[in-house]
């Protein structure tokens, strides 16, 4: 069941990529793309298994859309923040590496969390070991794991927990 779901999602991803690449659409292109995507996904060694972590139910889909919006907002805020720091004549930075904890279990959830942290205000994921995530923070606001977890990951975890906990 889980492999079937992963294969279906892999098929949809590949087919969407094909449709975007051939963008003035016609039926022949779409059918050819569907056949090629199906053939690729059927190959047993094609790595789709992590896609099975994604949950497909109405609540998860609503949270996916909400997550996209939260992420875009964080991306824009992060850019304004970096812009402020770069253009400020005295460079207001106090960099350090802090440890935060994640409650996400699945590889896909952790991948999304690490990438989201990297693209949000002043933080870059340096290393992940088990449930510890080490984050480079351009202006360390709190050095203890609890406070840093609140500030960096809680916003995203709320949504990722539902999408692919």
């Amino acid at each position: 069941m889980r492999t079937l779901k992963a294969k279906m999602l892999g098929f949809l991803l590949l087919w969407c990529a094909w449709l975007l690449l051939t963008s003035p659409w016609n039926e022949q292109e779409a059918v050819a793309g569907a056949i090629v995507a199906a053939l690729i996904v059927i190959l047993p060694w094609f790595p789709t298994s992590h896609l099975g972590d994604l949950r497909i139910n109405p609540k998860a889909i609503v949270y996916m859309v909400a997550y996209a919006l939260v992420f875009l907002k964080a991306l824009v805020l992060s850019n304004l923040d970096v812009a402020f720091r770069v253009l400020h004549p005295r460079l207001p930075i106090a960099p350090g590496i802090v440890r935060v904890r994640t409650t996400l279990r699945t590889p896909l959830g952790r991948l999304l969390l690490a990438n989201s942290i990297t693209l949000t205000p002043g933080t870059i994921t340096v290393e992940m070991r088990g449930e510890d995530v080490f984050v480079h923070w351009i202006k360390v606001a709190s050095a203890d794991p609890q406070g840093a977890t609140e500030a960096i990951v809680s916003d995203f975890e709320k949504y990722l927990e539902v999408i692919c906990g």
Binding site: L75, S78, V82, V86, A94, G96, E127
Partner: protein, 117 residues
């Protein structure tokens, strides 16, 4: 009209490119340069490419695919670079207060990784 809007969105994206380049020049060590070089170029390229897509709607499909590639690959490459840079933090002269990763390494003992030249 849509052409002007698209060109203007591209111009805003290009300004973010310029900002990230200024950040690369001004920041004091490699970690902070990464902060400027990753985030600003990601938003800059999203805006630039979407602006081109608004100007020329016939290119929009491919440009959306290109934006998806950039948003997925750019954080991955800077995570890999940050991990590599941490092995050289003393030679880079990086000021890190606190450095939880080095503390964790020290607590677990050396891992037998020797970062030679």
């Amino acid at each position: 009209m849509t052409e002007i809007v698209g060109a203007f969105v591209s111009l805003v994206g290009a300004l973010f490119f310029l900002l990230s380049a200024i950040g690369l020049l001004r920041m004091p060590d490699a970690f902070n340069r990464m902060q400027a070089g990753t985030k600003a170029t990601t938003l800059g390229s999203i805006l630039f490419l979407v602006g081109v897509g608004i100007m020329r709607p016939e290119y929009l499909g491919r440009l959306l695919l290109l934006v998806a590639f950039i948003v997925l690959t750019n954080p991955v490459s800077s995570n890999a670079l940050a991990r590599a840079a941490h092995g050289y933090r003393e030679r880079l002269g990086a000021r890190l207060e606190p450095d939880a990763l080095a503390e964790s390494d020290a607590a677990e003992g050396p891992r037998g990784e020797d970062h030679g030249d």
